[in-house]
Amino acid sequence: MDQVYESYDIAVVGAGHAGCEAALACARLSFHTVLFTVSTDSIALMPCNPNIGGTSKGHLVREIDALGGEMGKNIDKTYIQSKMLNKSKGPAVHSLRAQADKQDYSREMRRVLENTENLVIKQAEVAEIITENNCITGVKTASGAIYPCRAAILCTGTYLKARCIYGEVSNYTGPNGLPAANHLTDSLIAHGIEMYRFKTGTPARIDKRSIDFSVMEEQFGDEKVVPFSFTTDPDSFTKPQVSCWLAYTNEETHDIIKKNIDRSPLYSGVIHGTGPRYCPSIEDKVMKFADKERHQIFIEPEGNYTNEMYIAGMSSSLPEDVQVAMYRSVKGMEHAQIVRNAYAIEYDCINPMQLKASLEFKKISGLFSGGQFNGSSGYEEAAAQGLIAGINAARKLQGKEPLILDRSEAYIGVLIDDLVTKETHEPYRMMTSRAEYRLILRQDNADLRLTKYGYEVGLISEERYQKLLKKQEQIAAEMIRAKEQTIGGTEQVQELLTALGSTPLKSGSTLAELITRPELTYDMLAPIDKNRPDLPSDVTEQVEIELKYEGYIRRQMSQVAQFKKMEHKRIPADIDYDAIPSIRIEARQKLKQVRPENVGQASRISGVSPADISVLLVYLGR
């Protein structure tokens, strides 16, 4: 029987990576917050890959940290290997990735949540949202308990009507055999929300003792580890790291898959959901790229607590017997003992175009959402949205404008803008190629870009903010000095340059000019830079990057200025697109569906042409 219990300011549904960030943000901003989860043992669970970060995802984690989120700190506490990817490329695409001890990660996050004031955790399945006049007023659990609230954030991940599938086996559970949430979808549909069905998958876990690592390539972590969080002290941070292993599929593997492809639920039509192109199953890779003789696979530890190894690159939904044969065909895995089978999972999520850039539903005031529920994929994408949804739910109750990061400010901005503006037909994954201003959206300067917002919002302490301001000043001063510091062609200078493989000076130069030479760095020039002040390495790193790539960065900044012009042209919420006769029908339909918040967003909707935008500008200028 229904019964009304205590009320909360904000209810967060789901305690995965999105839900944790959302709940922490709300509670830290002093709102009385309740966090629902189907199992308190699955808080911050990593049901798929055992790592945090990676290309462009690492950027997201740094940004979450710069805004005052938790993910960066949590992985710094629980990493067992760390690597900076793309180090041979430009600074814009350097990306951090750390292997996590999954249980440590989950436990540590739970500890943080449980020790946060204003935050209550409840193990219950939320079955309904309750609204009045299109405003959220509460949530109801499957057992009939009603918790009134002023805002709610849905972060249900892959749990809605979840189904795990391999071969002919079909289990109506969430990941890892956890209970699915089977009721909420109907309540959302009853509220007029459009649902999608997506799928994703995970590979098998194999007992480490059954793998012969001697025939595989060992993959080490970096010697000098860079932390994710700007608050973590890099010196107190190093610890012994575990290795991952590189192996390959072979012709035999591919033959086994091809022979049994009709038994794959992906190919037999049992799975209807749309899967991510970024994480194709091994059967997809073999079928689509038939000419590839082998595929790389990485064997990664799930943590220090277990022998289970994650077989990255071999997710599958093939039947059990095929899986056994397939994994055992890999060199070094001839005797592989599968602990958990690979499976595909299907789940309900929303069409994210129903959301504003604040991640609030357009239709239901006070209802926010984040994570895989919004059609994304990945822990980091989820956490980023959870944080923004949490911040904006809180700001709504504070009566403040939402925090909206634009595409020139953060990968988070790109992520959310893409989700709410462009049609997604698959789980959305962040990629560096999606960020058009990536030269300025670097992982190294996330604090300089975003910490001011975290401070304004109230998630960044005064002390941390003052440190940032000092860093900014030091960078600015050193930039000026580097441009003014002349360096003459003295014997010492010429000797050093020659020794460093650089051409000797023909006439005087400045320190800044020398830094722009590809073969030279700020640090290398220390012996001939007599007036160099003693500066922390995060400051000199910024100085070097800004100087070395100044031309490119300046060009991108001017593109950003153009971009901002359109972003600042707001479109009134009540605009009637039917009243603009000169907009083409296709564009009008799209505009009506998305209801963009500004002209810039309108211009990014597919099917809206530059001429439509001109027409819209004229209409707005009336």
Partner: protein
Amino acid sequence: MVDTIAAISTGLSNSGISIIRVSGPETFQVMDRIFRGKKSGKKISEQKTHTIHYGFITDGEEIVDEVLVSVMRAPHTYTAEDVAEINCHGGSLVTKKVLKTVLKQGVRLAEAGEFTKRAFLNGRIDLSKAEAVMEVIRAKSDLALKNSMAQLQGNVLKEISELREKMIHHTAFIEAALDDPEHISLDGFTNELKTSIIEIRERLFRLISSAENGRMLKEGIRTVILGRPNVGKSSLLNLFAGEERAIVTDIAGTTRDTIEELVTVRGIALSLIDTAGIRSTEDMVEKIGVEKAKKAAEEADLILYIADATAEITEEEKELLSLIVNKKAIILLNKIDLCDIPDPSALEKLTKQKVLCISAKKEEGLDALYDTIEAMFFRKELSYNEDLYITGERQKQSLQNAYDAMGKVLESIEADMPEDFYSIDLMQGYESLGEITGESVDEDLVNTIFREFCMGK
């Protein structure tokens, strides 16, 4: 933040003068650099508003054209910005050369309808006219794109698509490797890319230069004016020539003994074929004979047949009309000003199609004629020849931008920049070429990455 724009303006009356309008904050500085006054040595920027000045447009030492320049200072101008209008000798390559000289100064070629848009946004057009302004922008840009696409059918389109394909492929490869560095390696790719970029650049250069010297500008819709002597063929031709302020050039045909005059009607390019000089003689049939008229009619994409409203239909007329059976033709009844009630019925019966009544002399009925040509074009009854064909300055500028972007890729390679820098300019080039074909970028890159490269965990 507003930039300075320019375009050939088609707003003024006839007489073979073209007007190039320049509008925006840099207008007068730009004019100072390219205008040399005949009398006073005063700079354009020092002139009073609403004055006209006689002199020369110069490109460095070279004199491009003798012109009149109107100076109009903000806010009392069409766009409410600083505006200069260059009156130059129309109907020839000169107009385009003057425009090019302006664009070389960093001025951007105006988009279709952009002057009107600016005028409106700057409050120069009555708010009640908003709807009309939107219509204008819509119509102009639709036409521009349609025209551009129609003219690009054939080799140029294929060439541009191929170059675009190369650019996105290279970008996708780089981006795939950046996103998945443990699976895809860029080792040795830089050299391969350099070779390819040099080739792409050469091909772009060929496109640009053939557009420049007009080789690519082969012809518009091949149009022949046909009719008995003294029906008004010359008058009609001259009217068209007056209409042709926008894009006009004289091209001496190299393969045939004919002169073609390229004129535009509502933005649609027509090559008026002056077989053995229609202009010099009224009496084409008499002079060159039915045989030659027949040949001209056969080669034409469009025939404008003119009959005399004051004369009866003769046998000679019927013979000529037989030439246009199965051809795209518009039948015109001229000299309606000379009869009380023009009667097209007999002619309509004979040709089994609608006849348009006009007076070439009084310039009546021309709108209906232009409407008909436009309608036929959009119904795809008329189309351009599938030859290399690059028209407007806009297309050329897009090619130039793509060329410059490839130059920047080479610079980055030479400067030993990491690979992620290359893709910025590669995508710029891809976008520029897309402007020509009217294709937006959208999700192309991500789609190409997934289609061509095996990614992922």
